[in-house]
Amino acid sequence: MIQLQAIEMKKRFDGLLALSGLSFEVHSAEILGIIGPNGAGKTTAFNCLTGFTRLDGGSVLLDGQNLGRKKPYQIVNLGLSRTWQLVRPFFGMKVIEALQIPTFCRRVKNNSFDQTEVQERIYKVAGQLSLADKLQDTVDNLNQGQLRLLDIARALMVYPKVLLLDEPFSGLSHFEINKISATVKNLNQDGLTVVIIEHRLRELMKLVQKVVVVNFGQKIAEGTPQEVVQNPEVTKAYLGKEGEKIEIP
């Protein structure tokens, strides 16, 4: 079943054509990777999906519902949650307070029976992302890896149907990347649909079931990780010339 569908997304920033008819679809309970060289339009695509940037053309469907003119908070309430390329936690708060903020939205209210269940969800999500012992710390005292985890925890608090992760591995150590990968895999096994933008191809390819390659705001290839790396268009986009193969160990 197609859960999230981007149809012919177009976006122009003055002279720069950031998205020129990008289409892809995400099936439910799938992990989709979006890769592409710098400036290919990956983050713009995320911003358009989540309503932070208004599309010039095309449309986005979540479970068949058009997200067209909806505001970011309305899109979150429909079940599309995201993280940001740079970590953006609520500095100055305690971790538990930061995780309380998403519980004030309509979607959490509709999905939970009472206040105790909401509190239990905070502990559950924090546990899933190994933040359980950090709940009483202030956000400012967390390290980069923990901030990433907190960002993902925040995005998970709203009972998302689809989770968009924008470069979740950047600036992290192997240990932390493995931890996030394992968490994402677990969440996916529980039925969560995940879309990941990532530059660390080696780690990404192990995680995802399908990859969409974007360049100059268009999809240039799509398929399983194995298919994609053998695609000549992709090697050309990444390496500048045809005929070479990208190695994944």
């Binding site: 940001w84 609520f90 100055g92 925040r154």
Partner: protein, 324 residues
């Protein structure tokens, strides 16, 4: 049952603020020195101004430099309604506050996308427009002189004082409740990162406008009380001077605590009046003290690190924090 609800209301409150509020009531009941009563009344009205300013600026950190718009605007509206329509003060104060609440919604909507200096400039400019308007419409507003001869709340200043102090207490408890509720938490989230707050599924625009309206409404009540207890209102209450004083008192008290602006406004106002014993140097000494306080406690007295680190002090002054 009733008793328990009242207890819940006070349980998390700052003992320092509660005792000052209680002391004020005692003072009002015991004292018959009209001069002290007048001074304390004005102090309480300033406390209403700073607290209602604090709920917006203290929690979102967008400096509202035009609070005179609400204060003076409501003062003039209730004054004119009282003078020309003959409405009783309790009605005119309500009308004035409702109008400034609506104005708050309008300005909140207009400044939704503005941040930092741009936000401050717009609020300042809107207040300046009303200030000039009060001169242009001098046949109604009395221009430089303002309007005087307004009806008083009660014939006895002692009762006036008790009413004003009661309203100050209500405003304090209301704002503390609001700030401690999810509304206050959401405002702090907006302050930290508005886009991420939206990513939490929160309609940040609605919350900012709601707080602007609350700030305007309560500030308007303060303005109306000022007009009717002083029995006059002049363009000073619309001027940049009053906006700056409100900002200063609240910042020195400690933004984002409600307690800080309450205690800061009352004590600094009393200090200012006490300095009248050396009237010639009053402004110099008072301004000097304000500068010194800003230098010693840049984030305000109630936001000092020593205070926040010590559990006892922070409980005594700021009350119990509702987290965890």
């Amino acid at each position: 049952m009733m008793k328990r609800q009242v207890l819940v209301l006070f349980r998390n409150e700052s003992p320092a603020a509660l005792s000052i509020l209680a002391a004020g009531f005692l003072f009002g009941l015991m004292s018959d020195n009209y001069f002290y009563i007048e001074v304390m009344m004005l102090a309480a009205i300033y406390a209403i101004f700073t607290m209602s300013w604090d709920i917006l600026t203290g929690y979102t950190h967008e400096l509202n430099f035009g609070f005179a718009l609400f204060v003076g605007g409501a003062g003039y509206i209730s004054g004119l309604a009282n003078l020309h329509l003959g409405l009783p003060p309790y009605l005119t104060i309500t009308i004035g506050a409702l109008v400034t609440g609506l104005v708050g919604i309008l300005i909140g909507y207009l400044t939704l996308r503005l941040k930092g200096p741009y936000f401050a400039m717009v609020t300042m400019a809107v207040a300046a427009i009303l200030y000039k308007t009060s001169y242009l419409l001098h046949q109604y507003t009395g221009g430089e002189e303002g309007i005087s001869g307004l009806g008083n709340l009660t014939p006895d200043p002692r009762y006036d004082f008790l009413i004003v102090w009661g309203i100050t207490t209500i405003v304090y408890l209301l704002l503390r409740g609001y700030a401690g509720s999810r509304h206050g938490h959401i405002l702090k989230a907006i302050r930290a990162d508005e886009n991420v707050a939206q990513c939490c599924g929160i309609n940040t625009a609605y919350h900012k406008i709601e707080t602007f309206a609350l700030s305007g409404f309560l500030g308007g009540i303060g303005g109306g009380l000022f007009a009717h207890t002083q029995m006059q209102i002049g363009p000073t209450m619309l001027s940049g001077y009053i906006s700056v004083i409100i900002v200063l008192l609240a910042i020195i008290g400690g933004m984002g605590t409600i307690v800080g602006p309450l205690i800061g406004a009352i004590s600094l106002h009393l200090l200012n009046d006490y300095l009248r014993v050396v009237e010639g140097y009053r402004i110099v000494i008072y301004s000097g003290i304000l500068i010194l306080l800003v230098y010693l406690a840049p984030h305000g007295i109630f936001n000092l690190q020593i205070l926040k680190k010590s559990k006892t002090l922070s409980f005594l002054l700021l009350g119990r924090r509702r987290t965890g």
